[in-house]
């Protein structure tokens, strides 16, 4: 089992991981890699973080349902949920993950033992030079409030002593890969990426870790926050670009990844509430782009030298469709389109009394009420919300029309699909079921996903042409 350890650092890391999960759910290939997300964020109570954990759990649950034959584990499906995702805790057969090891309510001052210095010791001035009083008095539970200098210290310690990092070093095997997701303009992500990179590349005693092919996506500024003067926040998006420039200049000589992906905007197109504790920022196209970096990375071989990757959009529009994004985005559009079509199945099939698979494959009411399908339902609700956010954000990732089930041929903007409505898909689903004659399992849920994907893919393949 090839693994890719995906380190998701800070709020941006969480949001990008969310997009990764969604893309994985909608069929984006990990090229055979099991994704092991490691979430690094000291926020104890951050909703986004909880939601991601929940999302990943859902994904895992759905995935497990899809590969469970009852007696053995089946191969991963093609299409939806085709890749395995495992938490580091699960991988190491331990329950605690980063969340428990990370933030607590201790003040940074106490965390680094400032009180251990004698009153007249010159190192007090050393500390005063590095950190403000406010830095020192901040509890770690609220993150680093955009202070990577603090984050570097805390995360460094978190990483060095954490069970998950030890587990990572233990579990990282030959051909496993590492992918780090962080933003460059915040606190946690900006500090975590170079730190983690340093830790991994510094693991001289563990060649599999040290030599693991490493990719990273550095998310550049893409959103703004309301004026901190009016909100009292310590984070000022006005200097996101400045900090990014400073950080990139700093990275210039320190990057050790094999692939470094850049994802960002030249202007801050969306302005969110400036609330560090909530960070209820809606899903953004750039996060999706950043998420796509992982899948690109998993397809690449070890380069001779560090590669810096950027992708474009063909037309600088506020609302993007396939044409304006460019052909390079077909896979993403197709995945999203596939899942949004799947969503119609999930919404409608439970109410379809005459659907043949009800009898043939047992997709009856008990199936729809079963935990597996219900997981999928819940996941799909999140997916819809995710896409809704993407499609309504600035800039909008909106390659689909998905509101009229009777005019599904126009669901993918700029492309006419042959399926005029859902009956086209359901028929293809029946056909797929009929084609599948193997008796290797009786997993209804797997049947549902498998046949649905074949049905959808049959029409949406056009997107890829």
């Amino acid at each position: 089992m090839k693994k890719v350890f995906v380190f998701c650092i800070g709020g941006t890391g969480i949001r990008v991981m969310k997009s990764i999960t969604m893309l994985m759910a909608s069929g984006m290939s990990t090229n055979g890699f099991t994704v092991v997300p490691v979430i690094l964020d000291p926020h104890l109570d951050l909703e986004e973080k909880k939601n991601l954990h929940s999302l990943i759990e859902s994904y895992e649950e759905i995935y497990k349902h899809s590969v469970n034959s009852g007696t053995s584990t089946l191969n991963s499906l093609d299409g939806f949920f085709n890749s395995q995702m495992l938490t580091i805790g699960e991988l190491n057969e331990q329950l605690n993950d980063t969340q428990q090891a990370a933030g607590n309510k201790e003040k940074f001052r106490s965390y680094i033992n400032v009180a251990n210095l004698g009153a007249d010791n010159v190192n007090n001035y050393f500390v005063q030079t590095l950190f403000s009083n406010k830095n020192l008095n901040n509890p770690l539970s609220v993150g680093f409030k955009g202070n990577p200098n603090v984050g570097t210290v805390v995360l460094g310690e978190m990483i060095e002593g954490a069970d998950w990092f030890k587990a990572f070093k233990t579990q990282c095997e030959k051909d496993d890969r590492v992918f780090i997701i962080s933003s460059i303009f915040g606190g946690t992500g900006a500090s975590g990426y170079p730190l983690l990179e340093k830790k991994i590349k510094g693991a001289n005693d563990i060649p599999t870790v040290k030599n693991a092919l490493m990719g990273a996506v550095t998310v550049l500024p893409y959103y703004g926050l309301k004026d901190p003067m009016t909100t009292g926040s310590d984070i000022d998006s006005a200097n996101f670009y400045t900090k990014t420039k400073a950080a990139l200049a700093y990275y210039q000589n320190t990057v050790q990844s094999d692939y470094l992906y850049y994802a960002g905007e030249k202007t801050l197109r969306q302005v969110y509430e400036n609330d560090e504790k909530k960070q209820e920022d809606t899903a953004n196209f750039i996060e999706l782009v950043a998420a796509s970096a992982l899948f690109d990375f998993l397809k690449r071989e070890r380069p001779d030298r560090t590669q810096y990757l950027t992708r474009t959009i063909d037309d600088d529009k506020d609302s993007l469709d396939l044409v304006s994004m460019g052909s390079g985005y077909k896979d993403i559009v197709k995945c999203v389109a596939d899942y949004m079509i799947l969503r119609t199945f999930i919404q409608n099939l439970p109410n379809e009394n005459y659907f043949p698979l009800k009898k043939n494959r047992g997709l009856d009411s008990s199936f729809y009420n079963d935990a597996a399908f219900q997981s999928l339902v819940r996941f799909t609700e999140k997916y819809y919300q995710w896409y809704f956010e993407l499609s309504t954000n600035k800039r909008a990732f909106a390659p689909l029309h998905y509101d009229n089930i009777k005019q599904m041929d126009g669901w993918v903007k700029t492309i006419d699909l042959e399926a005029k409505d859902d009956s086209y898909y359901l028929l293809r689903m029946i056909e797929a079921s009929n084609r599948y004659t193997k008796k290797d399992h009786s997993n209804k849920f797997r049947f549902f996903l498998q046949f649905a994907y074949e049905a959808i893919n049959g029409f949406t393949q056009k997107i890829m042409k």
């Binding site: 033992n113 251990n116 850049y262 960002g264």
Partner: protein, 1054 residues
Amino acid sequence: MAKVDLNIVDRGTSGSGVWIPENDALTPNDLDKVIEQKTDNSGALNSLPTPFARFFVAREAFRRVNEEKLDTKKAAGFAYTQLVSDILDVYELLFNLKYHRNNTWKDGQKLELREWNSKENLDYLKAKMPVLYNSVVDYYKTDIIEDKLYFLVYTENGKEVLLACSSPITGFVTPPDMDKAILKKDNTATICFAGEQYQNLHIRRKSGGEYFRGDVRLFDKREAEFKNYMYTMLFGTDTVDQRFKAIKEYVRSFNNDPEIRNDFRLKTTPVLTDQNDGLVINGLHIQSSDEIDINSYFTDTMIRVPYRISRGNFKSVVYQNDVRGRDYDYLLPFKPEVMNLFDGKELDSDVHINRNSVTVKLRYNGIEYSKEYSQDSFRAGHGRIVDLQGAKINFDLGIFPNILSYKDVENNYFKVLVVAADEDVDAPNFNIDQINLAFFKQAENGFKQIKEVVPEDMAEYGVEPAVVRSRQKTDVEESGTKFYELFNTAFDMIEVNVMGNSGLLMPVWQHSQASNETFTYAIDLGTSNTFMSRCKNDSQGNPDLSKKPELFRMDKTMVNYMHEYSDDSQYSITRRIEDSIFDKARNKIKTEFVPAVIDGKDYKFPIRTALCGIRTTTNKPKLFDNHNIAFFYEKYMANDDQNVNTDIKWEQNEDKLRVFVRELLLIIKCDILQRNGDLDRTNLVWFSPLSFMGNTREVYQNIWNTEPKNILFIQPQQIVRYSESEAPYYYYKKMDYIKDSDAVTVIDIGGGSTDFVYFKDNEPQVANSVHFGCDVLWENGFNAFANVRENGIFKKYVDTIRFQRKDLEDLNECFKNVDSVKTKDIINFWLSNAKDCDIIKFMSQDFKPVFVYHLTCILFYMANMYKEKGLDAPRTVVFSGNGSKYIDNFISSENIALKKIIDLIFKTVYGGNHDVNIKLPEERKESTCYGGLYRDKNAPIVKDIVYQGDVAKSYEKVGDMNNNLDSLKAALLTKYKNLAALYKSVIELLKQEKIIDGKSDTRRYVSKAEEDMGTPFTTYYKTQVKEKYGEEVIYNDSVFFLPVINKVFEMTKI
């Protein structure tokens, strides 16, 4: 279609939305295209993924501020500009470190650079702060690299605050708590420090305002010297480490700044760490300006004096717009070091008078610096005018002498008087201790302070510790005085410090020129009066006998006072100088200092031989510090704590005598230099009476050998002593007063002594001196008590005498009321001011028989002496000495009367008829000095004789008389009897001549003269000779006069 990279910059990525790999990361050039927003919130400067983020943020701040400079649309924002401003403040603070340490940090403020050794301290952190250590240990190696960091720690009121840490990237970084935030409340934006520990941080900036506070001050708004230091010295070379790129580019971007000068050179000194190492940060040698900081030369305060400073005497401020009627002036508001800027040339400074302030301008090196001073509320960077008038304080300075010899070595003595007063009604709150002077001289390497030294220091030159002569007491009429003495050095500048405020004055010296002119001075230090005369020498260095000696009079002042005086020729220069000084100082400069000028009018010779001194001092007499010649005597009264001693000639107090002589010699020195005389080729003549007893002559000899050497640089061979007695003869002879030189006697009647010299054929034969001058007429016999006032003449007039001039009337009252003033002093005062009272008329009327007795005694004694010494009766009798004026004044101004008296006396003593020539020259006192000048050095030395009234035995020593007292007394009693008879005859003669009113009752005087002389002789011989001197003492005086002195006293009481 507009294809764009999903990046912060467009790199022209190919493909149609797929990930395109490139070999290069985003480069700084790429990043330059990023449009940034301004950043106002320092709290948002939350930096980079390294514990040393602050160091990189600082770099970024410089880059952003520079970017804004290049394109104003790219505003950096407050957060970055304040950070740049603060870091520049650190550089500037260190650049001005010397200035601050020397000028503004006087209350214990200090700045230290504490070294932080990475190895040592990382080990410490490892033990104490392992979490931090784990984080920083690796980053330090890549981010900082330097072995050491330095912390700038500022201490004020015992509290330390961190100002900055050294940085290999920007030189310094300030701590994040020093960042400022703009707080908006009620539409008002206020700036406050992030950290509470900085809320009370107030470090005054050299150029005004405060460091780290107030408005952001970017590079271009800073002082020229600092900018040039940064531009040229610190970041002007190619060797600056690449890591300093951002700050270097920022600083060097000011190449068009008008104050940046390529030819600018700065004298700097390394800033030292607490390990005494030069502060070097990543190869950057941090310097402190060692250059003269022009602004630092301005004083914080400017002293305004309530009078105009004499520009002829002192250089002070120059006014650009002087106003008519200005009745004040300013001391130069600079620190002494300012003169080093001008390399001995004129200070290029002036003052512009504004409505409520003055602006002082100083031009140096082509740049004009200015500072405004006002009396009102103190504003940052402005100075304060200390208005002494407003403070009801006044002071003045006097420098003596005010002339410099062209030979430096001769500029070996200067005395500076400080006179100061608190003019407030509740005085004195201010006293003389609160005004201090420091002296500076120009040396090869600039102006140097002349250090204060004490004698034990054995210094080659210096300033002696100031001596307070008098203090202002509660009496509002008084002032305090203080003296500074500079020895073996002149000076070029004075720093005046009044109650902690200082200003400069430059004395304007007179200068002597080299010439071949030489002079001879003669000094007749008499008991009552002292006279001094001057004679220009011929080419051989001898007095030019072709010209009459000159009265000692000066054309120029010898004291430079601060205050300006009028040029109104209606008044003497002395009056103008003395009247122009502030009221409370006037009497002090008259009574405790040397006159500003011996103008021949207000101050002239002869002067009373009187020394003014502190009444209660136990210190050794020292000129001006506690004693000075009482030129004012009989004109003004000194303050109560000063006493005037009129007996110095005979008192045998060498120190007082020395002070007296020293002041005379200093005046002579001044006179010589004013006349461009060659000081060390000066000749001196001094005189001594024959009647000096004991070692008195030795004392005088010693003084006259040493003092002229110290002051005039002359050798003993240039100093001659003549007998007081013989000198007048040479003058009178020269003046052709002596027609018949066959047998001539000169009778020199002084205050204390009377001297006789007998000449035969122009050659002195014998000389004699007796301690019997005219003062015995005004004294109280041998009364042992100094303050006894039983003299009849005194008592007769003391309550009735009146003066037309009020000041004399007041002075008389003072004399009367001051216990220590003797009767002779008071009567001499009356006589000195006889034209303002009727004393001569009264005394002539009331006491003529007494004066006649006095004269008869002298002549009788002389005639007997000459006769018994085998000399013929003199054919010519010449009188000299001030004391002899009583003859003219109180006996008769007609020579014929005197001639008849003398003829009668000679007839009585010698027998036969006599027809003497009488000469009472006008120049009575002057004759001694003049004669001394005219006397041929090769003339034979006169033989001194002693005459006790009996030549039967030799009475050389006291013991001789003790052993033969009976026979001596017997001989004298005979003489006294004859004297009494003679006196009666003289009285009769004068009645006949109608010199004495025929109706007047003279019998009491005759009777008194006839009274027993034996008892008084015995009494006074015992007290005045036998008990006073040892047997071996050579007795040069004459015991003849012992009872006579008492008789005169008794007669005054008739």
